[in-house]
């Protein structure tokens, strides 16, 4: 059975370090599949204007498209070029919850993420996505600095 490692990206350079770490890990483990996941922060409980609602579907396609072409596909291509078995997933939702959900769906055995870039007041009140992930994930989480 192959081990699956989920890499959570956030579009910053910490993602690169998460990928590097996951690569290293995968090499040590042997047969490994790497799942590159990017979660677009989104909540179903926000308030929107009618016009925003009408355009929502189009926006969503654009967001998915952008995340796929700018972040996920280059990462997956890079991993494949380096000889790894890799696939990419882009999804909307709460970052911590969704990353965990993707991992469970894929049968991943651990999650690797970069340290979150949120800081200041927001982090003090809500905690960062990384903290939430570490606290609530169903599999071990590695946070790369």
């Amino acid at each position: 059975m192959t081990t699956k490692i989920v890499i959570g990206l956030d579009g910053t350079e910490t993602g690169e370090r998460a990928i590097a770490f996951a690569k290293d890990l995968a090499e040590r483990i042997g047969t490994c599949e790497l799942v590159v996941a990017y979660v677009i922060e989104w909540s179903p409980f926000t308030f929107q204007t009618p016009e925003e609602n009408a355009l929502r579907h189009k926006r969503r396609e654009e967001e998915v498209e952008l995340a796929t072409t700018r972040i996920v596909t280059p990462a997956v291509d890079g991993l494949k070029a380096a000889g790894f078995n890799a696939l990419g997933i882009v999804r909307h939702g709460d970052v911590a919850e969704t990353l965990n959900a993707i991992t469970l769906e894929q049968g991943g055995s651990q999650i690797v993420v970069g340290r979150a870039s949120a800081d200041g007041l927001k982090k003090r009140i809500f905690g960062s996505s990384t903290q939430n992930l570490v606290m609530h994930a169903d599999v071990p989480v590695t946070v790369v600095k």
Binding site: I40, W42, P44, F45, T46, F47, Q48, T49, P50, E51, E52, N53, A54, L55, R56, H57, K58, R60, E61, E63, V64, R91, H92, G93, T98, A101
Partner: protein, 428 residues
């Protein structure tokens, strides 16, 4: 509504909650604050009873129209959607092989534009001005109108989306605050709740010397309820059609909540506050409500009517509340105008086609009516708004009657698949 039956792969689309919140911010507003006061001021406390009845009935028509709105919407290649009564009228009637769908759709669109200019615009501007003037002292309405028109213009023509977005975010909190304040006042007068309900029930069937008697109370109740929750009018169907669900019926279930929250809960609270704080003057000799001199309504303390009646009722409990209410009224009025400008625009583009210049013409007309509404008297504004919205409702309900069986089939098929497990709950 919680989304337990929503597919996680649809995450990122407009959620049921968002569609409900958007539609609610279009409906919860002055209808609940000022409309109730108008109803009680003319029809007496009994009008409240009929408002509640109308609200409960409204749940059924809302369910039907929102289901149809989603089922028969247009989806364009660029991913945007347009829906609403004009689409289910023309498409639905075609599908059933009935004639006249197109004519109904055109009629509805015309009335919808008038409704947008009346109830969705002039009434809002008018009451917002009345509320502001009540605090700052009297000044000409066109000044408020111009300021409002300027802001509305900036949003709908200038594309200053940020203002709309801020409003959309503040309005729900205003709504919650309004309900809380009403609750506190009602609890403070807890001993009178029974009496107030007694007034509402007695008034509903006897009239208590109200203008027009029991029928007057009934008409006022139904009118203001329709005005407030827009059930049967067709406007909410436009707002709900943006949701991308494979099951139109689920949108119908969500929309059921609207008339309930709007009319049955919020309107009743406003009514209780007005009755409990005794804003209506009772003739000590007969124990009946005193009519105003021209007999058009019930005499109130200080002769208030419309939004100022609600304001005075809340103000009698909390001296500072009229200020908060003024801000709330302005924001509610504003968000309702933005919502209705969208509904009106959809009807306009249905009639004349899409296009930048055509849309601009409507938007400019819309802004002009903001000024007219703020400067005019309440009476004619309400009459015009009522007429337009009533006309929308007549056309819409007529169409709903014929399309009802489509909804019934949808419902039966959904229930069947739910039972057989074809539609399953997505675990969270």
């Amino acid at each position: 509504m919680k989304g337990d039956y929503s597919d996680p792969n649809d995450a990122g689309e407009v959620s049921h909650f968002q569609a409900l919140a958007t539609a609610l911010s279009g409906t919860v507003g002055l209808g609940n604050i000022a409309g109730v006061a108008v109803a009680i001021g003319i029809g007496g406390p009994g009008a409240t009873f009929w408002m509640i009845v109308a609200g409960l009935l409204g749940m059924a028509s809302k369910f039907t129209e929102c289901t149809l709105g989603v089922k028969y919407r247009n989806e364009y290649d660029d991913g945007t959607v347009s829906g609403g009564p004009m689409y289910y009228m023309s498409k639905g009637f075609n599908e059933l092989g009935l004639p006249g769908g197109k004519i109904l759709a055109v009629l509805f669109s015309i009335f919808c534009i008038l409704g947008a200019l009346g109830g969705g615009n002039m009434f809002q501007a008018n009451q917002a001005h009345q509320q502001i003037a009540g605090i700052t002292g009297e000044y000409p309405g066109w000044i408020t109108g111009l300021v409002f028109a300027g802001i509305v213009f900036a949003v709908i023509v200038g594309g200053l989306k940020s203002i709309a977005r801020v409003t959309e975010k503040v309005v729900p909190f205003m709504g919650v605050m309004y309900v809380l304040a009403a609750l506190v006042i009602i609890i403070m007068h807890a001993d009178q709740i029974g009496w107030a309900f007694g007034q509402i029930f007695a008034g509903a069937f006897t009239g208590l010397g109200v203008a027009g008697g029991m029928v007057g109370a009934l008409i006022q109740g139904f009118r203001r309820a329709a005005f407030s929750n827009e059930a049967g009018v067709g406007s909410a169907a436009i707002a709900h059609s943006a949701v991308r669900t494979k099951e139109p019926i689920t949108e119908g279930f969500v929309s059921l909540l609207e008339p309930f929250i709007d009319t049955v809960v919020i309107c009743t609270m406003t009514a209780l506050v007005i009755i409990i704080t005794q804003q209506l003057i009772v003739d000590p000799a007969t124990g009946l409500y005193m009519l105003t001199e021209d007999g058009s309504g019930i005499a109130t303390v200080d002769g208030n009517s419309g939004v100022s009646l609600t304001s005075a009722a809340f103000g009698s409990a909390f001296g500072w509340f009229p200020y908060v209410l003024a801000i709330a009224v302005v924001l509610f009025a504003f968000s309702t105008m933005i919502s209705w400008s969208y509904y009106g625009l959809k009807a306009w583009t249905y009639l004349f086609g899409e296009g930048h210049t055509k849309e601009l013409v409507f938007k400019v007309i819309f802004c002009v009516f903001v000024v007219i509404g703020a400067a005019a008297n309440l009476g004619p504004v309400i009459d015009f708004s009522d007429a337009a919205i009533f006309a929308m409702a007549v056309v819409n309900v007529f169409a709903l009657y014929f399309l009802m069986k489509v909804v019934r089939q949808e419902l039966a098929s959904y229930a069947e698949r739910l039972k057989t497990g074809e539609i399953r709950k997505f675990g969270h």
